[in-house]
Amino acid sequence: MPSDREKQRILRERRQAKMAKGGASDRLNKILSQGSSVKTSAVSVLDQPQPADHDPEGMDISTIASKPTPEPELDIDAMLNSVLGGNMGAGGAANGDPGSDPFTQMMMNMMQGGGPEGMLGQEGGTNPMSANMEYQQQLIAYNLYQQRKVRHRFLVVRMVSILANFVYHFLTISDFSFSPSANPFIRSIPPTSSVSSFFQIFVAIEAVLVAAYIAASRNVPSNNNGLLVKGISMAAMFVPKLQRFQPLIMKIIGCWDTVTFVLNDLGLVVLLFGLISFRR
């Protein structure tokens, strides 16, 4: 009696002999469509044409290693040149001399990090780039402080001159012509001629101070670090045409500064009239 293992081996050999005669696909489709209405037309791998060169059982690595790789070689320098606008091409990276290219030099300096010729300077720890950045930050802080200083001086002058104008009229006009009130009857009193001089002097003061402020502001460099300007600069990276509008926007911001200047002074006038409106 053959054992079970022997039986399985005999059956496997018999099946392989049957498959070798062909008709493997028919047998596969018969099995697949058994017990269902599915009509398949699968093709067995045994019926597929085999490639001429079979995989060798042992692979000769030396032949593979000696074969040249057929992949096309990418020119990284050329790609970088095209990406960075061609500035590098004239520099030298494309000429095979990375040391003479400023961009490559900068990148190499940054990558060298703590080396004596890298990020750190040759005199023990002072980095020219970081020193320059620190200087720029200090300059921005200094300019901001100067702007605030100019604004503060003008604020003092504005407040003093407007208060002087107001107090002068308040003291010299003794009737109701300069007396605001919560009672609407004040609107029915005809004005005296001297009342209008208050606004005339106010306008004259504003004109002089605005002109002086604009002149003084020109001497103090602005940092152009407003959120709006930063936003435009960022947007200009995607839409370069926006860069054209930046000077116009800067002018509008400058005008707005002057407009708030005048509006604040007008606010002071309203406040002063409001504070003396308790008089009946």
């Binding site: 040759q122 200090q138 402080y145 604020l155 009342v195 509006l263 309203v270 409001g274 504070l275 409106s277």
Partner: protein, 200 residues
């Protein structure tokens, strides 16, 4: 409410708002916490009272321990050291519990600031929006300016709460800047470090 009272009230609120903005919310919170720590034990806050008592005990024990030599009077020093460690642990435990109170005090301070500054302004802005606070005498301002100041709800020549709030806010802001700027630290002009011959 009388127009003049309303007018003054809004002006004071705007001044307070500017002062709070200038001082900073965090500074006000820390000041209120210090005040709370001083006042609350007097009104029976057990944890803070216990903490201050234990802190004074700790100071006494630490002083005694420093006065005793660990080599000459080892037993006494060990006893004081045990007391010291026990008090430190108790104070740390109390500190954790008191920190919860600090969060509550900070929240309360935030609500108080909002109640004092923002809520009255919004309430008055809605409730008294059409009230005329005062009228300008005719002839002082040009008619067009009087008309624009009267916007949006008032008759020409009158000043409404909206315009008054804007004016008070602008003046309060200017006054704060006027008085605070001289106390700011001056920024000196920076000097770019000269390059060494090696760098050149």
């Amino acid at each position: 409410m009388e127009p003049y009272t309303l007018l003054l009230f809004i002006f004071v609120i705007q001044i307070v708002k500017q002062i709070i903005s200038a001082v900073g919310k965090q500074s006000i919170e820390s000041i209120s916490w210090v005040l709370y720590c001083r006042v609350a034990p007097k009104f029976g806050h057990s944890k803070l009272a216990s903490m201050s008592q234990k802190s004074s005990q700790l100071r006494t024990v630490a002083g005694e321990r420093r006065a005793v030599s660990a080599q000459d009077q080892y037993a006494k020093w060990t006893k004081l050291n045990r007391q010291h460690d026990k008090l430190v642990a108790e104070i740390e435990q109390l500190q954790k519990e008191v920190d919860l109170d600090k969060v509550k005090v900070n929240t309360f301070t935030g609500y108080l600031i909002a109640i004092l500054t923002s809520i009255p302004i919004w309430f008055f802005r809605v409730w008294y929006r059409s009230v005329v606070l005062f009228y300008f005498p005719p002839g002082i301002l040009p008619r067009a300016l009087e008309w624009s100041i009267a916007l949006p709800f008032t008759v020409t020549g009158g000043v409404s709460l909206t315009v008054w709030m804007m004016a008070a806010g602008a003046v309060a802001s200017s006054l704060t800047f006027l008085f605070m700027f001289p106390f700011e630290k001056a920024v000196p002009k920076p000097v770019l470090a000269k390059k060494s011959p090696q760098q050149l």
